[in-house]
């Protein structure tokens, strides 16, 4: 008798915990999942009025679209350089800050501060630094070099890579620092007793334990690298120099022309690429980090 009442209560509790998820689930379905289904549908029809099925025509069309190709290229270029850089540099910073140096906590604050400063607030300083007659060029010319118009040349990517690193290194560094802290002390002690050098310890022990964090930082930086549009937009507006024309610019301008087919095909294509990339990274991590997982 008592047992059955307990079971009844348990069922009710279970029901309560399931019900807790429902409001969020409805929101996610209404604002993301269902409309994404419609986006997939739109990507296979010729236009929203006639609604004739055209198969992969929209995808073929967008693959031939110059603006889309150059936007994808620029975005891919940027991510391919900025993401590994952000991962390696922030790991380096975390390892350095793990050492016994004075003023550690102040340095941590400094590195983390760009995260909390709105990009819009400091964009003017970046403009001054990288203007044709700006500070960086003045320094270059002082040493006898020739200045370049950074934001209006193919070197524009350098500027936004720097801005990206400035904004994101702190966050990644904290992730690595907390991962470094959680490496079991006894393993490091055994390594010390066995006479392992610090280079050996780093590459054969720490890196192994850090591999889930490396993966996470990599994915996180990848996601953040697609937000670089903010910086580019604030620096140069809607129609920047060719090499700074990002995927988000393409989307924005396509939104303005209300070309749903182009837009939908681009979004679906991009989401597929992202899913493949993330899956590959997850698989790579599960192979590499297998032996340290508990």
């Amino acid at each position: 008798m008592k047992k059955s009442r307990n079971q009844c209560g348990r069922r009710r509790e279970k029901w309560f915990s399931n019900a807790c998820i429902i409001p969020s689930l409805i929101g996610v379905l209404v604002f993301f999942v269902i409309p994404f289904g419609i986006v997939v549908y739109y990507s296979t029809i010729n236009n929203p009025i006639v609604k004739e099925y055209v198969g992969l025509d929209n995808y073929k069309a967008i693959m031939k679209n110059d603006a889309f190709i150059s936007a994808s290229k620029n975005t891919a270029m940027f991510s391919l350089i900025a993401v590994p850089l952000a991962t390696i540099l922030s790991l380096g910073l975390a390892v350095l800050l793990e050492k016994n140096i004075p003023g550690k906590s102040i340095f941590r604050t400094f590195f983390l501060s760009p995260l909390m400063v709105p990009t819009a607030s400091v964009v003017l300083v970046w403009q001054v630094l990288f203007h044709k007659h700006g500070t960086v060029n003045q320094v270059i010319e002082m040493f006898g070099g020739n200045g370049i118009d950074w934001l209006k040349s193919s070197k524009g990517q350098v500027v936004i890579i720097l801005m990206f690193l400035w904004k994101n290194l702190g966050y990644n560094m904290i992730l690595f620092m907390s991962a470094l802290c959680s490496i079991p002390k006894d393993i490091m002690e055994v390594a010390d007793l066995e006479g392992a050098g610090s280079v050996y310890k780093f590459f054969h022990i720490k890196l192994r334990y850090l591999s889930p964090t490396i993966l996470f930082v990599f994915i996180l930086s990848l996601i953040n690298s697609f937000k670089i549009f903010r910086e580019v937009y604030l620096l140069t507006g809607n129609y920047p120099y060719d090499k700074l024309y990002m995927l988000q610019h393409f989307m924005n301008n396509t939104f303005q022309s209300l070309d749903y087919q182009k837009l939908s095909a681009a979004a679906v294509l991009f989401s597929l690429v992202m899913i493949v990339v993330i899956a590959v990274l997850l698989i790579a991590e599960s192979i590499f980090g297998k032996d340290v997982e508990n």
Partner: protein, 317 residues
Amino acid sequence: MTVRKNNRMLNIVLTVFIALAALMFILPTVLTIANSFMTSNEISANYGAMFGNMNGDEKTFISKDVNLKFIPDKVTIDQYRSVLIRNSDYLMKFWNSVLLTVPITLIQLALAVVTSYGFSRYPGKIKSIIFFAYIILMLMPYQVTLVPNYLVADKFGMLETSEHLIFKGAAKPLNVFCMMWARRAVILPSIFSPFSIFLLTKVMRRVPVSYVEAAKLDGAGEFKILTKIYLPMCKSALVSIGMLVFIDYWNMVEQPLILMKNTTMHPLSVFLSQINTGDVGLAFAVGVVYMIPTILMFLYGEDYLVEGIAYSGGIKG
């Protein structure tokens, strides 16, 4: 002996290196603050060339070079007086940012508390599949999620809204809700962003089962367990997640550009890029005013923030 000496040298070199790098990281912020105390004459003398070029009409009386200045010749709060008192445009945009960011942060957090509780109690197969779907959604860039958001906003006529202030007299403060309603195209999808659910679920999964069992023996129902055990134990996590969410939306550019046709409701983060030649002098001060809320949060809650970032590590677990 020499080894120790070498080590010490290395440490000094490292410290200097890190110190220099750290200085580079705060430089843009410090420069923005320093420049905000300049007179408008000084600013147009130093930076005028930049904005002259941008509009295509190069003014001859301004020097060709753009001189970055660390310390103003004459310290003045004139810029701030203009931003805060004389020209209400910027304050309006600041208020726009508040009207977007505050409701998004608060409601997203409240929803995350409930949802994460659901995810962390009685885990099952369906729940873990849904949770994984949330992670995938979280990892999708704006270029993907904004298209579905746009379709919904378009369908329900949320793209071109304006503020209808219906409350009068003593009920006037309630107009805040009308203002938020006018901004629903951006607020609604943002509320359901899975980021805070993802973090909070990971935190809530660490709440010891023994606490819950003990509370149950004392006759606590599910709702009591949520409010009396889970909530107090997640307090610091909530603060840190709240900070991360706030800064993310305080910084937003993509969503208003696409989902808000009515530019008078655009937040300051978008508007700052459109500052025109006549207002160059104000730009630094506006920038500083805009960073005050997040900087204060950072100074007050740096440790929370660090804790929150540490929670976010790892997709599994």
